[in-house]
Symmetry: C2
Subunit: 349 residues, 2 copies
């Protein structure tokens, strides 16, 4: 005999992303702000002036992608246990993508899930990572290999935090902005070809367009079973680059920039992108001094590393390739020869 | 300005629970069976005769609640990484509640979520733990404090496995059956007062009624925001008993049995349950030699331990109390005096 569990229902995980000066935030519960030493030093006071909670805790982690690991996760969880956080308590992620991803994951597994809010402080996390509910940590096998889809209750994006952002980190954020434009919005790409993003109005427009694109894509496909995978443009190659360089040589956005250049080469080879379009994308990345090449130690080895990537199925690798500018294709039948040919162009001599 | 992420949609996590001889199971993907040494020794061959997969791995953990921890979780995850499991791979939980909870949690966080199937082998996991998607691990702060709500794709309940179950573990399963009856089904309770569960037909009826009750409650309230909390009857007290005895002295179902007796005392004190009803419930537990008392070392300390329980909000403890037999109330305004008075009745002299 069969007994059915009926779990078909309407679930509403909708939330608002506020792009504005951080408003007053008042919570009648225990709140823990998770941040890193650098962000705390620069911006804790700005946040605390606007944040009111019944009990407030601040968890300060080391800064850097290499701390996006099990140990940091346990540091967060230990604090919550020590202070008897419960299901009505709240976490606030206050920092870049690393802090956001770890805080979201901690919120998702603490007592089977408590609420969290994102206050991203880097351009990259404002335009991409803080929106959409992907959370996780890295391990020795790769990036974000342990994690959950878990949506925040709200996201607050305040350009104030970008004033102190180093030029290199700003550029890394631009890489994800370029990604959104190339894959989904040709007009936005044209804007990026000429606009000066050091101008605050231009920057806000770029943030808004990126967030709107991301929001639209995530609304269509929260769990990345289809179109959302297109936002991994540049990431399939980029993740391997990050893994091979120990997450140290390149910022995430930088390896994505190189990854987009590699994906574009493949797209040109397969007739999806013209050489002129390829050059235009590269030119935008170069405007922000983003790296556009990486000396692959061994093309075969690089190829093998794709297969642990979450986006690959048992035997196929999914490549996200631009079809012209403003359109994108998810292709899972590229021949090994074509991929290796592209990888060999980047191979260290 | 605000950008909204629209994530309101129909989600269908429904699945079937098959109560029958295990059918042939064929999967075209990588499959890892997670089990423990005891279950593997007794039943691996029975399972493997019916299970076919593209690639099959067997992960064998130590048997016991004390192994429901981060280390075992990492053992599972390491195997998946080593064998390059990806998002289309499958986990099968083959064992009792400990194996089911850990396997489900591993499935929920591996690459942000892969499918899993439950094949419970103990009475307790067949009637309760395998159904409903609660997953997690224990840590030094308590039980299931790290975890997720994550539904299996299917549950297969085969009474064959119960033939080898030690009497004490069988009784621990009966405790959860009694819980379902007392809280939701008076007629089922009357059946349990007289039926001999060593008779296979009676046992199957009890399993079916329990699973149907659980399925109904979970369908109404998957994330335990309301009525599902009623299934924690006996658990609020029981969890503290388990914690205080290091998860070693009592099986989970045994501490739930004691917990129900304690909850009943409180219910009698508050006028929700008559002494006659209290005696009837105790008599059913005693029919299966379940323990019904525990010498509390210190009533105040026991009381304090409630506050880390997931079911408590910042300042209130939620008690699940039977209102007669077949009905249940979730009460969060019991005075400390009333609770302490009950705890003192159980205090070690």
């Amino acid at each position: 005999m069969k007994v059915s569990i009926e779990l078909k229902k309407v679930v509403d995980n909708s939330y608002d992303i506020t792009i504005d000066t951080l408003p007053e935030l008042t919570y009648e519960t225990k709140v823990a702000v998770v941040t890193n030493t650098k962000v705390a030093g620069l911006h804790a006071e700005y946040l605390l002036r606007r944040l009111h909670a019944k009990e407030l805790y601040i968890i300060t982690l080391q800064d850097g992608e290499e701390y996006k690991n099990q140990e940091s996760l346990e540091t967060i969880l230990e604090t919550l246990f020590n202070h008897k956080f419960n299901r009505s308590s709240l976490l606030i992620a206050f920092g870049g993508g690393v802090i956001g991803d770890m805080t979201g994951f901690a919120a998702s597994i603490y007592q089977r899930g408590i609420d969290f809010v994102q206050i991203p402080t880097t351009l990259l996390s404002q335009v991409d990572a803080s929106v959409g509910g992907k959370t996780g940590i890295n391990n020795k096998y790769g990036k974000n290999l342990i994690g959950a889809f878990y949506q925040p209750k709200a996201v607050y994006i305040d350009a104030h935090f970008l004033k102190t952002l180093p030029k290199r980190e700003f550029a890394a954020g631009v890489a994800e902005i370029v990604k959104m434009a190339v894959t989904f919005n040709a007009e936005f790409f044209e804007f990026l070809e000429t606009a000066d993003l050091s101008d605050e109005e231009n920057l806000k427009r770029a943030i808004r367009s990126s967030v709107e694109t991301k929001a639209r894509v995530v609304s269509m496909d929260e769990k990345e079973k289809g179109v959302r995978a297109a936002l991994n443009y540049g990431h399939t190659f980029g993740h391997v680059i990050e893994m091979q360089t120990g997450y140290k040589k390149f910022l995430h956005g930088e390896s994505v920039a190189i990854g987009m250049v590699m994906a574009n080469r493949l797209a040109v080879r397969l007739g999806l992108l013209t050489q002129e379009q390829e050059q235009r994308i590269k030119a935008v990345l170069e405007r922000y001094d983003l790296p556009t090449t990486y000396a692959i130690p061994d093309a075969e080895e690089f190829y093998e590393a794709f297969f642990l990537d979450k986006k690959s199925t048992d035997t196929k690798i999914k490549f996200i390739l631009p079809r012209g500018i403003g359109n994108v294709e998810i292709v899972d039948d590229v021949s090994k020869e074509d991929v290796l040919a592209v990888l060999r162009e980047f191979e260290a001599k």
